[in-house]
């Protein structure tokens, strides 16, 4: 019977991603390039913001993926803790550095946009602050992974850290909103709210968001494959040593 759990088998996972990864990777490059080129060169300048508005095509997708990467790590950690599928733990490990880079892109593009618009590279705004805190959580998670030698122990400990960290990251977000009134505008895109962004911007923005999601999937797949291969290599080296 076909079920999603069959991909928890590393062999099955490798075989499927063998053909899936190139497709996703090419799609990621094409869609992201389309979104960014469309956004950068074929949209009008904003009435007040001028051409700086175009940084939105990098800023929003990366911020979206920074949060989604953490959620994906949370789900993968739960799957590892409950069903103990190694691929899941490795996928969580592979997602962390990507989420870290997405967070950094979000912060840096935000700073570059904020300098001309707000007159400051950085403001202690709740949204900015909670993103900086997210960066710290990513750093701690990655540091813990690399500090522990035994792979199963490392997977267990980081999974628990991810669970506890998620709760505290959420708390920190609300704490940050409590602590300071914001400078950052509210959500530009929302399911409920009416259109606050014109379709001329929204369409390429959606394309770049899809592109960034595809990039994330492709990188996680590639990272997980690398981790699986590294594991296999370790096992092979160990077996050789035993034989010798």
């Amino acid at each position: 019977m076909a079920s999603i759990w069959q991909y928890a088998n590393p062999l099955k996972f490798m075989r499927t991603t063998d053909w899936l990864l190139p497709i996703v990777a090419v799609a990621a490059v094409v869609v992201t390039a389309t979104g960014l080129i469309w956004g950068f060169f074929f949209t009008p300048d904003d009435f007040r913001q001028g051409s700086t508005v175009k940084i939105i095509f990098l800023h929003v997708p990366s911020a979206l993926m920074a949060i989604n990467a953490w959620i994906m790590m949370l789900v993968a950690s739960l799957i590892w803790l409950i069903r103990r599928h190694h691929v899941s733990a490795l996928a969580a490990r592979a997602a962390a550095p990507i989420g870290l880079v997405m967070t950094l892109i979000g912060l840096i593009t935000g700073a570059v946009w904020g300098q001309p618009m707000w007159g400051a590279w950085w403001a202690w705004d709740p949204r900015l602050t909670s993103f900086l805190i997210l960066l710290l959580f990513y750093l701690g998670y990655i540091a813990l992974w690399s500090a522990i030698d035994d792979p199963d122990t490392a997977a267990d400990l980081t999974a628990v850290l991810c669970l506890v960290g998620s709760v505290f990251a959420l708390l920190s977000r609300y704490a940050a909103f409590f602590w300071s009134q914001g400078l950052h505008q509210g959500a530009s895109l929302s399911v409920q709210a009416g259109t606050r962004v014109d379709w001329a911007y929204k369409a390429p923005l959606y394309v770049s968001m899809a592109g960034f999601s595809l990039i994330f999937v492709a990188l996680v797949l590639a990272g997980t494959r690398t981790e699986i291969r590294a594991r296999r290599m370790k096992a092979l080296v160990a077996r050789e040593r035993m034989a010798a």
């Binding site: 701690g140 122990t153 400990l157 850290l161 506890v164 960290g165 704490a175 940050a176 409590f178």
Partner: protein, 218 residues
Amino acid sequence: MSALLTRDLRLAMRAGGGFGLGLAFFLILAVLVPLGVGPEQATLALIAPGILWVGALLACLLSLDRIFALDYEDGSLDLLATAPVPLEAVVSIKALAHWLTTGLPLVLISPVLGLLLHLPPSAYGWLILSLALGTPALSVIGTFGAALTVGLKRGGLLLSLLVLPLYIPTLVFGAEVVSRGAQGLDISTALALLGGITAGAVAILPFASALVIRINLR
């Protein structure tokens, strides 16, 4: 369990270093900040709540790695894990011992340091109350961090990287209570949230810490 508590307290008092160190650190911080910022009374009064809370946080952090490290090295942690007392209770007792030797002294000494930093008189009560309410959360969260890194050779730096982000909500609400109290504003929301975080952390985190210790002892 009370035997474990008295043993931990005795070890902390007599083994030297650990007990007074956090307090001394707190004191030094309260001396260094005016030296760095300048002696203007108004400036110091403005930043005093934040400085005192950050100082309490860092002072707590100093003694965290001692919670489990010694027991792990000499094997008593294995004995505690296999003892009839549940490991969750052991972890809670350890956190309590840490709070009694670090958090409580910080709470008691904080008014003196508030004096050094020109904290407005109206804020002293809130300072003591917020620290008394918030430092148990610092100990419990720190115990979780210490449990995560117990098997590591040089876990100290990693421990602070893991634990400090978890301290953020407590810090925000704790410092908010004091600074609002200093300005005579309404503090009930911040105080309730601070208490809520402490209650939640004390209720749930010992289970996570015990789980993590079992993983580390495997």
